[in-house]
Symmetry: C2
Subunit: 443 residues, 2 copies
């Protein structure tokens, strides 16, 4: 691709054009990332209209903005004509309001109306990710007529692999795949071969639920209907793959105690990165002062046996790790639909059992190490080991229960992950430790 | 679906059959999960052959095993005939070896040879997830001939949406989508319309890399070729969606300090759950003894000012949380291909800057709280706040760097997450804390 820049520098635009046309739009967009903005415009303008729109959909929002700000309204209109509606909506959602107005002005009235409607769907709803470029058929059509209709209208559709059979009032009556059409006799009517057991989404439904159904039923596309069951759009699987990764990223970030952000790490401005992280750190730090209070209350005990302080981090960390294991498994199980809130007692039973095994192994190992290898006194070794066991047990139960309880109260379970669990477990671990130490040392 | 069980109890098998036939295979399989094993067999036998195979693919491995053990070899063969090869391979991979032998005995020779070949691909390779039911065309064919060929052979193919143009020696020469075929003139030759800029996978390539390319290029299917560039199979996007979630689950589990497992939480046996967790807990616990050693070394200092112990958890936890934020962002960025090992210095610069901001905010807040609200002495308040600042800074750098270093040495970056970072940060935090306290108190 390097040659392209050279050709452009030498003003050999036709050769550059020929070289670039054979490339995949994704690769062209990727290549443009490294190209200075003013050259992007030149390259963009030598692309054929449809390829230009394809490439445009994959550019970064800065590049999109730069291009649209520097081309004529007529050129904008021609890109909008070629872009699929969902890509236009994606693009406009990232842009400032006055800029959106400029783009909307360039669109014809029908597109403008549609765009306004799409832009009004809540973020992350099925409506906000759907596209309207689908093939609609009538159930009275024969296979032959349907194929002829697809040939006539299919060029502008995002997918023809699944076609939608609509009633006069646009209610969705059935689905027929291109595969079924191709493999059926030409004279058969669609109503005889269409699938009527339809899996669909509502416009306001959360995209995560939509993605779950795609995965469950191995779908390639899903119709989106409004309250009157009229077809308003479709969601295609290539967008679902992006949704799945987006939702996973959100979970990863929440689980590490951050406000989620969709921006790429290296492209996120410093202040935004810091802001997304500092809130939870502050909350957790202030909650952690609770541990300081507990330790202060047992100051006399620590004064008497300073060695006790040495094992605090060990117990707290093991508890935190055990708790975050449990919570991670449960949060992930909830996200994949493998666990539901009704499973609370099954989860608690399982975590109790695992806690006994795992806590037992840890406590025994710790006892061996402290008492036999490090020659720590029997009472302190025992106190540390028993505390370790009870802390792990408690951590497992809390880690298993909290995500389910959050889900029940419609809070994102991903919040109940490592950082929060660690803070809770820390306080309890200290309480357990000092209680046991006091009891044992008093004997 | 409840009615179906009733009908079967009353031996009204025909009615049951009619009721069940209209359902989605995924829903039927889901329904069968709640049905006792012996009834599953009855229901399974009243299903038409192709629906039975579809449902079979979605059953749990226990149910699959039960069914295959209780039906005749002829029935097994008829299921194998209807199942797509990738589903058969999935199923056999979960079964014990002697059982696989029994199933292979039931297959015809060609299928047996293929299955043996597929079963020999390494787990999680492109070869292990591909299927061979694709449509192959020749470049000399016209569109009309190609469509006729698809009509003749398409019924048994997993997808006809993308078709593959092969040379005589089965080398992959081009790809043509059904969309292109439908929208092109009947007399055009395939070589004129086929896409020759092909994105493909190698049989031994990791499935995660394959999934990344699906996402990058918005593909619906990808051809898999061997070393001689011959087409040996295809991977379809419905399987990629499962791969993506599988890989994410693996990352979530590794990042919480567990050995990854593909089994659903509620279906994982107790011992296996405990085993997957206890190893890392032990490793981390034993590493944590390092912190105990540090504390023991400063026993005299703690004896003199017991209050110092109270702030250890606060500093350690904040550092751990900050470090796991950084490592999570970098691990996720690596997984999505947004960050590469070459970005080490950009990441470090960013983490340094974020660390200064975030650490500064935490330290200032802490100073206010300790010194002004809780009336802790100035020296100790300062020591705690400075340690907090330096610990957060260090945690950010370690959290940012370790995943990149792991990736560079071809270790899964997900291991460098919260638990490990916390353990490292703990030790360093203690060192920083005691060092600063000693210096400040000595003034």
């Amino acid at each position: 691709m390097k040659d392209i820049l050279e050709l452009i520098d030498n003003n050999q635009l036709n050769q550059a054009r020929n070289l670039i046309i054979g490339q995949n739009p994704v690769d062209i967009a990727h290549f443009l990332e490294e190209v200075p903005l003013e050259k992007i415009l030149i390259i963009f303008r030598i692309l054929p209209k449809d390829l230009a729109a394809d490439v445009f959909a994959y550019l970064s929002s800065e590049q999109k903005k730069y291009i649209v700000e520097n081309i004529t309204e007529k050129e904008i209109r021609s890109i909008l004509d070629e872009l699929f509606l969902d890509d236009t909506v994606d693009f406009l959602e990232e842009m400032p309001a006055n800029f959106v107005k400029k783009v909307l002005r360039s669109a014809d009235e029908k597109t403008r109306k549609l765009l306004n409607q799409f832009l009004s769907y809540p973020e992350n709803s099925a409506g906000s990710v759907m596209t309207i470029e689908y093939v609609d058929l009538k159930k009275e059509m024969t296979v032959q007529e349907a194929l002829a209709h697809i040939r006539k209208t299919g060029v502008d559709k995002e997918t023809i692999n699944t076609c939608y059979v609509l009633a006069e009032d646009r209610r969705l009556e059935g689905i027929v795949s291109i595969r079924k059409l191709i493999l059926s006799d030409a004279e058969v009517k669609l109503q005889e071969i269409m699938e009527t057991n339809i899996i669909y989404a509502h416009t306001l439904e959360d995209q995560e639920d939509v993605a779950d159904r795609f995965r469950k039923y191995d779908l390639l596309a899903m119709p989106v209907v409004d309250n009157e069951n009229r077809l308003v759009g479709i969601i295609t699987i290539d967008d679902v793959l992006d949704i799945v990764e987006e939702e996973n990223t959100e979970d990863f970030q929440r689980m590490a105690g951050m406000e989620p952000s969709e921006k790429e790490y290296l492209k996120t401005p410093l202040w935004s990165l810091a802001k997304h992280r500092v809130i939870w750190l502050l909350v957790l730090m202030i909650s952690a002062t609770f541990t300081a209070t507990i330790i202060q209350r047992f100051e006399d005990l620590l004064q008497a046996v300073v060695l006790l302080a040495a094992f605090i981090p060990l117990i707290m960390d093991s508890g935190g790790n055990a708790g975050s294991q449990s919570s991670t498994l449960v949060i992930r199980g909830l996200a994949l639909g493998e666990i539901s809130t009704g499973d609370l007692f099954r989860v608690l039973k399982k975590e109790l059992a695992v806690g006994i095994i795992v806590g037992g192994v840890l406590a025994a190992t710790n006892m061996l190490r402290l008492f036999y290898l490090q020659k720590v006194g029997f009472l302190i070794s025992s106190a540390v080991s028993i505390s370790l066991f009870l802390t792990v047990l408690f951590a497992n139960l809390v880690g298993g229960a909290l995500p389910l309880i959050a889900k029940f109260f419609r809070v994102d379970p991903a919040i109940m992950a490592s950082p929060l669990i660690t803070t809770i477990v820390d306080a309890v671990a200290l309480g357990i430790y000092f209680l046991i130490v006091t009891r044992l040392l008093a004997i």
